[in-house]
């Protein structure tokens, strides 16, 4: 199939905005509709658009398959590690250890003042969800684009 210039230009102009929108979905997943899985798939669709319009080689020059493989595996290990840190800090597997750390710090600063401690914990609570969203976003983007790049290369 012959490729036209329109496809080339549109893919080149559009894919950065797709990456940006994917990053937005990942990073605001805890306050607005979106999240790690959705944002990751949007980022991956940007990579797939590059691969389909400009060839697998152009996409792999930006996102080498070897590095995507590493991201996919490391993402899973980091997710597991984020859960195990919760066990070490005493909030349970995949417990919110950001809030726990903030409440301990606030309790040390204001001895006995539990209201301030809970307020500090609530203020920092969404950070753990943000961290998990970020890990999942990277992992899903690497995984989905890796599947498609592998299949494109084969055909």
């Amino acid at each position: 199939m012959r490729k036209t210039d329109i496809l080339d230009v549109v893919a080149r102009k559009l894919s950065p905005y797709m990456f940006l929108f994917g990053l937005y979905l990942v990073s605001f997943g805890d306050t607005s509709p979106g999240g790690g899985f959705q944002g990751g798939v949007v980022i991956a669709s940007g990579i797939i658009l590059l691969a389909m319009a400009r060839g697998t080689g152009a996409a792999e020059a930006l996102f080498p398959a070897s590095r995507l493989t590493v991201l996919e595996v490391v993402g899973y290990v980091v997710f597991l590690a984020a859960g195990i840190v919760g066990v070490i800090l005493g909030v349970g597997f995949l417990g919110d250890w950001f809030a726990r750390g903030a409440s301990v710090a606030a309790r040390a600063a204001t001895v006995g003042d539990t209201a301030t401690a809970t307020a500090a914990a609530a203020a920092s609570a969404h950070r753990f969800v943000f961290l998990l969203n970020l890990i999942i976003g990277v992992k899903v983007a690497a995984g989905v684009s890796l599947i498609c790049l592998t299949l494109f290369r084969e055909t």
Binding site: F128, V129, L132
Partner: protein
Amino acid sequence: MGRIVELLAIAVVALFLVTVLSPAGTGNATLRDTVVANGVHDTGAVNLVTAIYLGYRAYDTLGETIVLLLAVSGVMVLVKR
């Protein structure tokens, strides 16, 4: 004849869906109200979907990431062969 049976089947399915999915008949109203009332406080995520899948059901999400990892591994093994 066949048309009548089809319409009858569609009507039965529609009736089933209406009774099951209507707000008053939703299975577990207690669970829904609990999540709506405590979700933001418990997990810190304003988006309640995120509150469920990364807060209350983080184990489930861990399993989903394993599924993705296995899917990628499977595709790469099958294609390389």
